[in-house]
Symmetry: C2
Subunit: 189 residues, 2 copies
Amino acid sequence: MRPREFEPEDVLDRGMRVLWARGYEATSLEELLEAMDLSKSSFYETFGSKHDFMLAALERYINVVLGQLGKDLHKGSAREAIFRTFDCMIPTRDAPANGCFMQNCTIELAQHDPEAREKVRQGLKRLEEGYSRAVLRGQESGEIAGKRDARALAQYLVSSLNGIVVLSRAGFERKKLLKIAEVTLDALK
Amino acid sequence: MRPREFEPEDVLDRGMRVLWARGYEATSLEELLEAMDLSKSSFYETFGSKHDFMLAALERYINVVLGQLGKDLHKGSAREAIFRTFDCMIPTRDAPANGCFMQNCTIELAQHDPEAREKVRQGLKRLEEGYSRAVLRGQESGEIAGKRDARALAQYLVSSLNGIVVLSRAGFERKKLLKIAEVTLDALK
DNA sequence: CCAGTTCTGGACTGGTTAGTCCATAACTCA
DNA sequence: TGAGTTATGGACTAACCAGTCCAGAACTGG
């Protein structure tokens, strides 16, 4: 058996970044293949179709990027950890504003693509659970007001993060976005 | 001179709704023409190109939809007025979740389309100014804590609104979104 | 009713799209 | 080394894309 000349995860990552930056519909297969350095045959053999590739990329994004975000939520003080999740989605001079791939998929696809919608919902649920645990941790330590529903606060945080990410795509400056994150976090106590 | 057989604003509205629901890239000219009940010639004669049409639709959305939002911000108590702007972007059973056309354009186009980005920035600025005035009004009446920067709070509200709209596109229930709006508003005082 | 103007439907184009298919190169294992 | 298997490159297709163009219909003003 002849071995593959590429790493599936590697090409998936590279293709994901293109969809992330340019959007699903706006990205042609040709652009995708060039970025992935892959032949058409290998692409279809490995991923099935452009649509299936997008779903695979979305799943990987949720597992890798949001998975990391979830892990980071357990380190240090709860408030600081939550702030860090906001901070890392806010672009810096070196890392330009790509926003959040899952959010892009939500806007572009979730409404008329049931499979994409389902993945997005799973991703949001996972994000919410991460925040929920962090909020509970903060309530135990007294950093966050204990009388409020942790679930509601977690959903508020998911929503707020999405808002900031939208504005980052619109070109808002880092400083303004950090200020918004501060106001958002202030609401917890 | 033979008169037009359509109202430019009317067909603009109808076409906008299609772009709003399905996205710019995903909508073919054919779909657009069918929804607008217009011939290709009339479309190109009136709007120039698909891209120019999108810009016109975006401008109209900002003027009409966001303009109305801005007006509503001046009625009644400041907090209630702000809450109403959130409420009216949250889908009901009768009005399904189309989100915000300007947000869709932000995600899909702002990054690589300078003209769309410019319009989006103008729209966001206008929204921010509306909220800023409402916040100042609320601070004068004591509904909103007076010590905080009205501009920062206004940007926080713009961001929060966008977050809620993203989640509405993901299919979040009205009840949950209203709860998030409440938590958001609580942060003002 | 007619001249002049403008709107409209539809044919047409050149380019691009996602996706298929196959001959052949490349590799493994015995 | 050679048989067997799999990956690969690239030609190919049919559909669709935005956009152009023009002949003729439809209307106005005189």
